[in-house]
Amino acid sequence: MKNFRILIVEPSEIVAEGLKGIIGGSTRIEDVCCIGDVTRLEEKILSFKPNIVIINPLFVKFSEKGNLKNIVFSSKFFTMAIQTSYIEPQMLRSFAEVIELGDDRQRIIGKLFGIMNREIEKKENDIELSRREKDILVEIAKGLTNKEISEKLHLSVNTVMTHRKNITRKTNIKSVSGLTVYALLNGFVDIDI
């Protein structure tokens, strides 16, 4: 099943292309993309939608951008390190896995497959809201009642209530105003509604 998208963030073209060559042949990989610096990393992640990001930890170590860590270590994908020079062990612990320059082909593939399996496991226990649940959350945040939501989205009131129960189960938030804050914090609705 070809469903993994991998983003490599590495300044050295030799290393980046070498890594791409090694992992790109795997049947489980849909696409591999290489970028050489982090200036447009956030946009790239949004457009490429990787499941795994392999980044040189030097970027994280020397970044002047305060929020780079938040971008690199996201819950939306796994982050692996490609280590080309000495990095403090403490920093390496932030990564799901570390690929070293001395690793051979088999070892690199092994590490990558390990992470892919974790990604599959994660999907199985996923508590992210479904698309429908997000639609309903948006209407809740706008202050609509169950009945109004059911009319607007052409659903039965019972279905709306089931979705609401699931939203509360997944987010652990019960009150309407709490759900509104949640929806706004996650950018499902605009802040000034």
Binding site: N70, T171, K174, S175, S177, G178, V181, Y182, L184, L185
Partner: protein
């Protein structure tokens, strides 16, 4: 657990058995520093009936505790009112402003649009809490007083309160989730951890407070309505 709480035990032992009971002291307006004195002695010095004090401690300690008929006899309704009102005051004048002050620091430290949201959310919670206490003090307590004075008009009954009464810690749980899970981290982490502890403590105290009303106040008034207690 309830059996170990007796009038003759040292007050200090009771506190060390369940430190959450420290808040009961504040709700009874009792000071600490009681040395080796017993529960009975400290209570009498503060003008509180020891059995009533112990009953509250039992409800606070054991969520499953259901007061017996014997327990009901130890209740003086005025003491119970004054206990509940003191608790309300503690929430309104101490705990909420305390959380508000600390929350303010977090609000100012994060992105303004998020900060405003959290501020508004907490503001709404405060209004809800005040309304809840107001209803009890302006409607429920006067009704019970009229019942004591046998001047009840019959328009209201404690079953109306029983139906309506809810635990007001739901939004606190939501706030906790938002602070711990969803608000992006942005400095003042210690403040956020501290305030999470404050919220947990308030939420636990509120749920014990609710239990006192559900397990003690309501059944007691039901007995009064029946005429079983005067």
């Amino acid at each position: 657990m309830e059996n170990i709480f007796t009038e003759n035990m040292k007050m200090a032992e009771l506190i060390f058995a369940n430190p959450k009971l420290l808040l009961v002291f504040s709700h009874f307006n009792m000071g600490l520093g009681f040395g080796e004195r017993s529960v009975g002695e400290v209570c009498r010095q503060n003008g509180i009936a020891p059995l009533f004090f112990l009953l509250i401690c039992k409800i606070y300690t054991d969520n499953e505790y259901v007061p017996s008929n014997e327990d009901m006899k130890s209740v003086n309704i005025n003491d119970l009112f004054s206990y509940l009102k003191k608790s309300h005051l503690y929430y309104i004048e101490e705990k909420i402003p305390h959380i508000e002050r600390h929350l303010d620091i977090i609000i100012k430290s994060c992105d303004k649009k998020y900060g405003d949201l959290i501020g508004r959310f907490f503001g709404e919670y405060k209004v809800e809490m005040l309304k809840h206490f107001d209803y009890e003090e302006e409607t429920v307590f006067p009704y019970i007083k009229s019942l004591c004075e046998k001047k009840n008009s019959g328009a209201y009954s404690i079953s109306d309160f029983k139906r309506k009464h809810n635990n007001i810690d739901e939004k606190l749980g939501d706030l906790m989730n938002i602070l711990v899970k969803y608000l992006p981290s942005g400095g003042f982490e210690m403040e956020r951890i501290e305030i999470s502890f404050d919220i947990i403590q308030l939420s636990q105290d509120l749920s014990s407070h609710s239990l006192v009303e559900d397990r003690l106040l309501i059944p007691f008034v039901e007995l009064m309505e029946d005429g079983s207690i005067n």
